[in-house]
């Protein structure tokens, strides 16, 4: 009887895979329209040249590079959150890990995509393999992102196998597809043991890779000798920012999934509360890094750096800089500080704010430095054109589209892990507590 009850409870997790409503197709149409618009814009850029963007000398990099850093940053949601929570044996992770891991894998394509859009000669991009020059931080990026994509795909796939097997055994749609992907999973004791081993191995492996990825992304800037880029703090600063925006992206995704697929029972306020606390920690960490970075520059007072510093604080980039400060710190901090406001809605507002703020942060890192080269130059102010905005919109739409399709092919909440949690973790946690404290477990 109880068994039956549980099965019915999890029924709702299969529903998105098996039934698709009208709202889905409407959203799909909208997204596809936006994607085609972006493809048109890119086609135009490809034909004409990068002159159709707002870029010029000396601002050779703009929105594309900003987006590259931004998207790669968001990809830190999955691995770090999910891997750290798995390793820490945090039981509340069970229903959120999958939605995090999917973000990682999918958003990476758009990080890489933005670099390719930024190339003057995308037709020659294979030169990177043919004539690799490993002194270039760009090649470090290529290597570490490739490894990251591979590792995080495996890390997404492994915990997916038992769920795919569940779908295969349900006699639903696309059985042949699930049969191939399930790799003959039967749920035996041995298979479970191997899977657990694989997952914990990947969870450990993926953390240093994730850290390396955003460190190396920061190296693209930090390795040059340009003022306000050439900074040793950039590695950790970028990693912290990446985790910051990653958690925010995850909270937004979870809010949408929860509403659209009616998963209020699985993604509860407690999850948002816990993630909200994590986001709060990252908000403070972000402030710490930003403060350190700018104080060092200001105190040193080297004219070449100060030109850029003042341009950010009071000059042409002040709206971007203070916007970043507002969205990254002033808005999320009070919301996340109080338990009362760390609700799904509260954390959603904070997260949207953080996402906007972190995009601005990337922009404020890339553009002002390039606007102020060391040698006197004509003052050129960069502003992105409709091409760049269209491509940005296209990337976001394409990402959402892929994410939606994923939820239609696979359960977005890990069913077997939820069940396992229900069946085993109570006893496991009790066992664990016994090992922590004296005086328990004598009876």
């Amino acid at each position: 009887m109880e068994e039956l009850n549980l099965k019915q409870e999890d029924e709702i997790l299969f529903r998105p895979v098996e039934r698709t409503g009208r709202a889905f197709y409407l959203t799909l149409t909208l997204l596809i329209t936006l994607i085609f618009w972006a493809i048109y814009a890119y086609q135009f850029q490809y034909q004409e040249g990068l002159g159709v963007t707002g870029l010029a000398r000396p601002i050779f990099w703009g929105v594309y590079i900003t987006n590259f850093v931004f998207f790669i940053g968001i990809s830190h949601a999955g691995t770090l959150i999910s891997a750290i929570l798995r390793l820490a044996k945090a039981e509340w992770r069970r229903s959120i890990t999958r939605s995090a891991e999917v973000i990682t894998v999918l958003v990476l394509f758009f990080g890489v995509g933005n670099i390719l859009m930024d190339l003057g000669r995308p037709d020659r991009m294979l030169n990177i393999i043919k004539y690799s020059q490993f002194q270039s931080p760009l090649l470090w990026d290529v290597s570490s992102i490739t490894i990251y994509l591979t590792a995080s795909s495996i890390y997404l796939y492994l915990p997916l196998i038992p769920d795919i097997a569940l779908l295969r055994d349900r006699n639903g749609k696309r059985r042949w597809f699930y049969r191939i992907l399930a790799l003959g999973w039967r749920g035996t004791e041995r298979q479970h043991r191997l899977l657990e081993k694989g997952i914990s191995f990947m969870a450990i492996l993926v953390i240093p890779i994730a850290v390396s990825v955003h460190t190396v992304v920061s190296f693209v800037f930090a390795m040059t000798i340009q003022p306000m880029w050439h900074s040793a703090i950039f590695g950790p600063y970028f990693v912290a920012g990446a985790i910051f925006s990653g958690i925010a992206a995850l909270i937004i995704a979870m809010n949408i999934i929860r509403k659209v697929y009616h998963l209020e029972e699985y993604l509860r306020p407690v999850h948002f509360n816990h993630l909200g606390v994590l986001l709060l920690v990252m908000t403070l960490l972000w402030f710490y890094f930003t403060f350190t970075e700018y104080l060092t520059t200001y105190y040193g007072g080297e004219p070449i750096h100060m030109r850029i510093f003042w341009m950010k604080f009071t000059g042409g980039f002040a709206p971007y800089f203070w916007g970043m400060f507002l969205f990254c710190f002033v808005i999320p901090l009070p919301i996340l500080s109080f338990k009362k406001t760390r609700t799904p809605l509260g954390t959603l507002i904070a997260s949207i704010s953080v996402i906007i703020g972190m995009w601005l942060e990337r922009y404020v890192i890339v553009v002002p430095t390039l606007t102020n080269p060391r040698l006197p130059n004509e003052m050129v102010i960069y502003f992105p054109t409709w091409i760049e905005w269209s491509m940005f919109a296209g990337c976001i739409s394409f990402f959402i589209l892929l994410y939606m399709i994923f939820t239609k092919l696979f359960p977005i909440v890990s069913i077997w892990e939820v069940r396992e949690g229900r069946e085993k973790s109570m006893a496991e946690v009790q066992e664990r507590i016994k090992t922590y404290l004296p005086g328990i477990g004598v009876e």
Partner: protein, 227 residues
Amino acid sequence: MHRWGMVIDLDKCTACQACVVACLAENNIALIGPEESAKGRTIHWIELVPYIEGEYPHVKARLIPRPCMHCDHPPCTKVCPVYATYLNEEGIVTQINYRCIGCRYCTTACPYTVKYFNWYEPKWPEEMKGALNRDVSIRTKGVVEKCTFCHHRLLQAREKAKAEGRGLLPEDYVPACVQACPSGAMFFGDLNDPFSTVSKLSRERRAFRLMEDLGTEPKVYYLSEGV
């Protein structure tokens, strides 16, 4: 082995920009028109940079002709992911146009901002089509270009010297800007030869290089004015 370098005497320079024009003609540099120019997309392999030092009332303004510095430790070549720009054995920082992927990493890494990007397919007015220099390849859209010390002239000079059965003489190889300078403010030659003009001038008391503190070791020397 040669180590090519340039000396520009600011005392003699009248800022007439003959070097700029000579370079445009010699190296088939695209004329992009006033609109694009206003966006900051003009290409000048050598450019006259207004260099203002100090603050009012003690301002010192200089007009400095700025070709590529051809650094001995170039920050641009290090970051190129495909070896499309590299320091050759004679000290010239070369560009391989047909290999460049247009990532513009070198343009952002260069502290002297001497690198230029082809935002569009390079264009010239119809009347100028016949006037292009056949010794210099025409760049395509989407690649980076910059001063090469008129490297094609070196190749030609070598060929000529070889045909005449002699070694390369100092007057055989001179870039277009140096050749065009009406006030004789620019010198070019082998820095490794202790008796060459550039080598002697580069060791003069007036000699300095741009942003020497960066450790890029430029091979373009300036002789400061009014000493």
